[in-house]
C-alpha cells in the first residue's frame, strides 16, 4: 500500500503545477504501455529530420516508411503473443517460406494452370495456422520448450518449402492484392491502414476477451493461472495457431508486394520481427505488451532503417545498428533484477 500512497503523493504534487486535464493525460499516457515507444519514435524522427534537413519529414518519405512498416508490423503482431505467453516462436521463417511457395504455385503463374484468385487469402492463412497448431501441440503435448519446438519446425517447413517450390522464382501474375496494397486512401498507403486495423483488432482481443486475459495470466504466472482455472494448454495451442495464421497473411502480402514467390523469401524474417517485438516493449519474460507494442516496434525499426538509408549509411553498418537496437531494447524492457540468473 505504501507504493500506492507514494504515487498519490507524487500526483498531488503534479496537480499543483499543472492543470487537471494535463495531469490526467500524463497519467493516461504513462499507463498506455506505449509511452516509451512513442518517445523513442519522436526521438528517431527528430534526429533524422535534423540529419536530413527535413527531407525525412517529406510526405513522400513518410508514405514510404508507412508502407514499408506494414508487413513487418503484421509479422510482429503474429509473433508477439507467443512471447507474451513467456515462450517464443522461431518458426516464422519456415512458415513464411512454405506459404510463399504455395502462393506461387496456386495463384496465376507461368508454370501451371492454377488460379485460385482471392481464395489464396484463406488458403495461405490456413497453411500458416496448420504449422502453428503443430508448434503448439509440440510445446504443450510433448512438453518441448517453445524455443526448440519452433526452431525445429522452422527448418522442417523450410525444407518442405524448398522441396515443393524447387527453389524456383515464381512470378505472380495475379496483381489484385498488390494493387490493393500499394494504393493509397487519402494519401495513406492502404497496406498501412490494413496493418493499423489489424493491430486494433488484435489489441481488443487481448484487452477485452477471455482468451486475451488467459494469455496474459499465463505469461504472468502459469501456475497461478492454472489454479485459477485457465486451460493453459488450450490457450497456448490457440496462440501458436493464431501466430501461424498471421504469418500466413503476412507472407501472402509480402510475396504479392515483391511480385515473386520463392522459398527463400522467409529467410530474412526472424531477426527484424523479433527486433520489432522487443523494441515495441513486449517483455521477453512474458505477460507484458500487446499488439500496439508490436506494431509500434515495427514502425520504429522501419523509421530507423529508412533514416539510415537517407543519410547514406553503409548497409553493413545499418545491420550492426539493428543488432545494437535489439540488445538495447531488451536491456531496457526486462527487469533483470527479477531473474535469478540469465541463461
Amino acid at each position: 500500500m505504501t507504493s500506492v500512497r507514494a504515487r498519490l503523493g507524487r500526483l498531488t504534487l503534479l496537480r499543483k503545477w499543472f492543470p487537471g486535464p494535463v495531469v490526467a493525460a500524463g497519467v493516461w499516457f504513462r499507463r498506455s504501455g506505449v509511452a516509451a515507444q512513442i518517445l523513442t519514435l519522436v526521438i528517431v524522427v527528430g534526429v533524422f529530420a535534423i540529419g536530413t534537413r527535413g527531407k525525412y519529414l517529406s510526405w513522400a518519405n513518410i508514405q514510404v516508411i508507412l508502407s514499408l512498416a506494414a508487413i513487418p508490423a503484421i509479422f510482429a503482431i503474429g509473433l508477439h503473443p507467443t512471447i507474451v505467453l513467456g515462450g517464443i516462436d522461431l518458426s516464422i521463417q519456415g512458415v513464411a517460406s512454405l506459404c510463399a511457395v504455395f502462393v506461387g504455385v496456386l495463384l496465376k503463374n507461368q508454370f501451371n494452370s492454377n488460379d485460385v484468385g482471392l481464395w489464396i487469402i484463406p488458403i495461405s492463412m490456413a497453411i500458416g495456422g496448420a504449422a502453428g497448431v503443430v508448434c503448439g501441440v509440440l510445446n504443450t503435448g510433448l512438453r518441448i520448450p517453445s524455443f526448440i519446438a519452433t526452431l525445429g519446425m522452422s527448418w522442417i517447413l523450410y525444407g518442405m518449402a524448398v522441396y515443393v517450390g524447387r527453389a524456383v522464382n515464381v512470378q505472380i501474375l495475379d496483381t489484385r492484392i498488390e494493387k490493393f496494397a500499394s494504393a493509397t486512401l487519402f494519401g495513406v498507403p492502404q497496406i498501412a491502414i490494413l496493418a493499423v486495423l489489424f493491430a486494433a483488432i488484435v489489441q481488443v482481443v487481448e484487452d477485452r476477451t477471455r482468451f486475451g486475459r488467459y494469455m496474459y495470466a499465463i505469461g504472468g504466472d502459469e501456475v497461478i493461472a492454472k489454479q485459477a482455472g485457465v486451460n493453459v494448454d488450450r490457450t497456448k495451442i490457440a496462440v501458436f495457431t493464431i501466430a501461424g495464421i498471421i504469418y500466413g497473411l503476412g507472407s501472402l502480402l509480402l510475396a504479392c508486394r515483391l511480385g515473386v514467390a520463392t522459398s527463400r523469401m522467409g529467410l530474412t524474417l526472424l531477426f527484424p520481427t523479433v527486433t520489432a517485438v522487443a523494441v515495441g516493449g513486449v517483455a521477453l519474460t512474458g505477460g507484458i505488451g500487446g499488439a500496439k507494442n508490436a506494431a509500434l516496434g515495427a514502425l520504429i525499426v522501419t523509421a530507423l532503417n529508412d533514416g539510415l538509408v537517407l543519410m547514406h549509411v553503409s548497409p553493413y553498418i545499418q545491420q550492426a545498428v539493428n543488432g545494437v537496437v535489439l540488445i538495447a531494447a531488451v536491456a531496457l524492457t526486462i527487469d533483470r533484477k527479477k531473474l535469478g540468473f540469465i541463461k
Partner: protein, 512 residues
C-alpha cells in the same frame, strides 16, 4: 472422533478423519476440523504439524487418502481449487496467488468474467466499476488499474479476500469459508490491525480459518482454536478460555527423549574460537549482533520468520552483504558479500532448499561431492578420474550415503541421502564452520537420525556449526548454546548443555 462430532452438528464445513501419508511420513492422521457459520477458527501448530497439508486438502490441491469433507452435511469431493471455489472454499496464500503483471481488476475476476462479457467482448468500464464497488464494500481504497505487483502485500491480501467473497457470491454460497495462511507474517503492525478489522467485518457473512504462528494474535482474533501436532488433533478450545502458555505447551508436547538427538555424544563445546561476529548490522533485517562459535560447538539460532536469523546466516555465508560490522573466521576477517571467499575461508552453507540451492540435481553424486575440491583432484592441468573416484568413494563411505553407485544422479536419491551428499561436499572441502539451514526438512525419521549422528561426529572432529531447525525440540536437543532472536534483535543467549537442557516452553515464550 469425540472432538469433531460435537462441533460438526451445526457446522458449515467439516473435515472427518482426514488421513494423508507421504512416503515415510504420516502428514495427517485422522484429523477432524469443523467450521461453523460466521466463525473465525484459529489453527495453530508447529512447522510440520500438518497445517499446510490440511489446507491444501481443503482447497482441492491435494486429495486425502482417507476421510471425508462435508459441506452443510453433504459429502463433497474437491478435485481442484476451482471445485473448492464453486463450493465456497477459498484460500489466501502467504505468498499470494495473483498474476503480478495484471491489474487489480483483471485479477479480481480472472477466469470468471462471463458476467461482464457481451458477445465475448468484455466491458472494461463495468469491470472497473464492479471492482471499485467490491473493494469499497471492504472499505479498501486501492487503485484498481494498478498491476498487482505494485500494490504491496497488504493490499494484495485484501484483493484476494475480495475476490474470494465475490466468487462465493457468484456461485451462490451464502457463507463461504476463507482460509488465511499466515497472513500477518508479511504485514506491518498497522496493516495487521486493518486486516483484523476486515476479518471482524467479513465474519458477518463468512467463516474464516486463520493460521498464524503468533499465538497471541490467534487468541485475540478467533472464536475457537484448534491445535495440531504431528498430524493429529491435540485439542480444541474456545478462544475465550485459551491461554498462551497452555497452547504453547500443547503445540510443543511433552514427549522428549534424550537419546533422540544423541545428547550423550554432545561435546562440551566452547573450544577454540572459530567464528566471531562483531556488531553485524543490516538495515531492515537485523540490528547489531555479536556472537562467537567455538570448535566443535553447535549453536542454534532461534526465532520466527522475520526474526532476522536467516539473514544473519546469509551474511556469514557471503550470500548477503551486511551494512556494518565484521566477521572473523579463525581470527581472519572475511570480506562481506562474497560467497567465494567465504567458501575459501572454510564456511559451508547447507541451504534450506537443497534441491534447488544445495545440489546440482542433474549431476552425479561424485560430481557433487567433488565440486569444491576440483583443484586438489587434478593431475597436471586435467582432472584425474581416478582421484575423483577415490575422493567421492571416500566420502560416500564416510557419510554413509546410500546410493547405487557414485555415478548415480542426485535427483534419484532420497531426501536424506541428498542431504548427506550436500554435507559430504562441504566436509570434503575441509570446512571449519557449517551453517545448516533446516537440515532435516523433508527427511524421514530414519535419515533424520543418521543426520543427527553425522552432526555429532562433525562436532567431535572440531567443526563448528550454526543450525536453524524445523522444531524447537530439535534446536534444543542438538545445540550446545542457543541464540534467541526476535524482530531482528538478539534477545537472549541460552545454555543448552546436555545436563541442563531448557524446556521448549521456556524458549517459546521468548520468541513470540
Amino acid at each position: 472422533m469425540s472432538v469433531g462430532n460435537g462441533a460438526s452438528r451445526d457446522s458449515i464445513l467439516a473435515l472427518r478423519g482426514i488421513t494423508k501419508t507421504f512416503p515415510g511420513v504420516v502428514a495427517l492422521d485422522g484429523v477432524e476440523l469443523a467450521i461453523r457459520r460466521n466463525e473465525v477458527v484459529g489453527l495453530v501448530g508447529e512447522n510440520g504439524a500438518g497445517k499446510s497439508v490440511l489446507m491444501k486438502i481443503m482447497i482441492g490441491l491435494m486429495q486425502p487418502d482417507e476421510g471425508s469433507i462435508m459441506l452443510g452435511g453433504e459429502p463433497i469431493t474437491l478435485r481442484n481449487p476451482l471445485d473448492a471455489i464453486r463450493n465456497g472454499i477459498g484460500m489466501v496464500f502467504q505468498d499470494g496467488s495473483m498474476v503480478p503483471n495484471m491489474s487489480v481488476t483483471e485479477n479480481l475476476f480472472l477466469c470468471h468474467e462471463n458476467g461482464f462479457s457481451n458477445l465475448g467482448v468484455f466491458s472494461l468500464r463495468s469491470m472497473r466499476e464492479s471492482a471499485r464497488a467490491l473493494l469499497a464494500e471492504l472499505h479498501l481504497h486501492i487503485d484498481v488499474n494498478l498491476p498487482v505487483a505494485e500494490i504491496g502485500p497488504a493490499a494484495r491480501q485484501m484483493v484476494e479476500i475480495a475476490r474470494l467473497l465475490w466468487l462465493s457470491r457468484l456461485y451462490g454460497r451464502d457463507n463461504p469459508v476463507l482460509i488465511l495462511d499466515e497472513p500477518t507474517t508479511v504485514l506491518a503492525d498497522k496493516e495487521r490491525e486493518t486486516l483484523f478489522a476486515i476479518l471482524r467485518d467479513i465474519k458477518k457473512r463468512a467463516s474464516v480459518v486463520f493460521i498464524s504462528h503468533r499465538i497471541q494474535e490467534v487468541i485475540e482474533n478467533s472464536d475457537r482454536i484448534c491445535v495440531l501436532k504431528d498430524g493429529k488433533n491435540v485439542t480444541e478450545m474456545d478462544a475465550s478460555d485459551a491461554r498462551l502458555v497452555r497452547i504453547e505447551q500443547l503445540m510443543v508436547g511433552h514427549s522428549f527423549s534424550a537419546d533422540r538427538f544423541h545428547q550423550d555424544d554432545q561435546g562440551a563445546g566452547g573450544g577454540k574460537e572459530i567464528l566471531r561476529v562483531e556488531n553485524l548490522d543490516r538495515a531492515g533485517s537485523f540490528e547489531p549482533i555479536s556472537f562467537t562459535v567455538g570448535e566443535g560447538e553447535i549453536v542454534s539460532l532461534i526465532g520466527l520468520v522475520g526474526s532476522g536469523k536467516e539473514e544473519v546466516c546469509k551474511c556469514i555465508a557471503g550470500l548477503e552483504k551486511a551494512d556494518t560490522g565484521s566477521i572473523f573466521l579463525d581470527g581472519r576477517r572475511l570480506p562481506m558479500g562474497s560467497p567465494s571467499s567465504a567458501v575459501r575461508a572454510g564456511v559451508g552453507h547447507i541451504p534450506i532448499d537443497r534441491r534447488s540451492e544445495g545440489l546440482a540435481l542433474m549431476m552425479s553424486v561424485a560430481e557433487n561431492v567433488n565440486l569444491l575440491v576440483l583443484n586438489r583432484l587434478k593431475a597436471g592441468v586435467l582432472l584425474s578420474p581416478a582421484r575423483e573416484r577415490k575422493n567421492a568413494q571416500h566420502w560416500v563411505a564416510e557419510c554413509q550415503i546410500k546410493t547405487p553407485s557414485i555415478s548415480t544422479m542426485c535427483a534419484n536419491l532420497s531426501g536424506g541421502n541428498q542431504q548427506k551428499t550436500v554435507i559430504s561436499k562441504w566436509l570434503s572441502s575441509q570446512v571449519r564452520l557449517l551453517i545448516l539451514d533446516h537440515p532435516t526438512r523433508g527427511v524421514d525419521v530414519g535419515a533424520k537420525d543418521e543426520i543427527y549422528k553425522l552432526m555429532r561426529r562433525l562436532a567431535k572432529e572440531g567443526i563448528g556449526m550454526i543450525i536453524m531447525c524445523d522444531t524447537l525440540e530439535e534446536d534444543i536437543g542438538l545445540s550446545n548454546r542457543m541464540l534467541v532472536m526476535k524482530d531482528g534483535r538478539l534477545m537472549k543467549e541460552v545454555d543448552s548443555s546436555p545436563r541442563s537442557k531448557p524446556s521448549p516452553q521456556s524458549i517459546i515464550s521468548l520468541i513470540v
